[in-house]
Symmetry: C2
Subunit: 106 residues, 2 copies
DNA sequence: ACGTCTCATCAGCGCGTGCTGATAGAACGC
DNA sequence: GCGTTCTATCAGCACGCGCTGATGAGACGT
């Protein structure tokens, strides 16, 4: 409902991180590059389900997929994660100073 | 559908950050402590809506609310944000090394 | 060429969630 | 006491989203 002006954290990334299965995928891909079938096996999820989650992660710029024969290898892109990490750190840092300020009410 | 074992990022926090309005609330609270009526005015949202979002943020441990007369002042708690920031940074750091590794398929 | 394997997309379903209006309660001013 | 203000909670609704089975496309082995 709200249009963001200069967001400290990207909406697509934040939304992608909101799902437990997608976070698990990111953790797995943080260890090594994996193809879809690996993820299906590791997660115990449906192939369709994994594929859908990968699409969300790809659209968020968190994952890049590369076709290798009939397999599709996926790798994690650190950039967006680091940007969001920095955004959250900035938010936390600011808030420490904000504890002293209280806008008067009424 | 998935039970997390030792999550790098907390589910409540990640879920709370997924909504644009809640992120805007966090940004506003990062600048100064505000009461509910301030947030209603700044966001142009309904009082009920803001109140619901604040409840989610409180349950995630991101915001603490304090009653001051008939007003309720809300402040951002940096702790969980910093923890998630660190978790994302760790994930990104790991992934840089993972780019070299590719699990064989089949 | 044919079957198999991997993977993505599609249509559909059910539940979670964001939003709302109405209600209730607590604090302040008169 | 009484009305007003600020806030949280409660039902209810509508949309989004995660999950599924089925289908289709591309690559490999025989």
């Amino acid at each position: 409902m709200l249009i963001e002006r200069s967001p400290l954290v990207d909406h697509g990334v934040a939304r992608a991180l909101a799902d437990p299965t997608r976070r698990r995928i990111l953790e797995l891909l943080a260890g090594e590059q994996l193809c879809t079938c690996h993820l299906v096996e590791e997660l115990g999820a449906t192939q369709t389900n994994v594929s859908n989650h990968l699409r969300v992660l790809r659209e968020a710029g968190l994952v890049v997929s590369e076709q290798a024969g009939r397999y599709a290898y996926h790798r994690l892109v650190p950039d967006r994660l680091e940007r969001m990490s920095a955004g959250l750190a900035a938010l936390a840092s600011r808030s420490r100073l904000a504890l002293a300020v209280r806008r008067p009410c009424g």
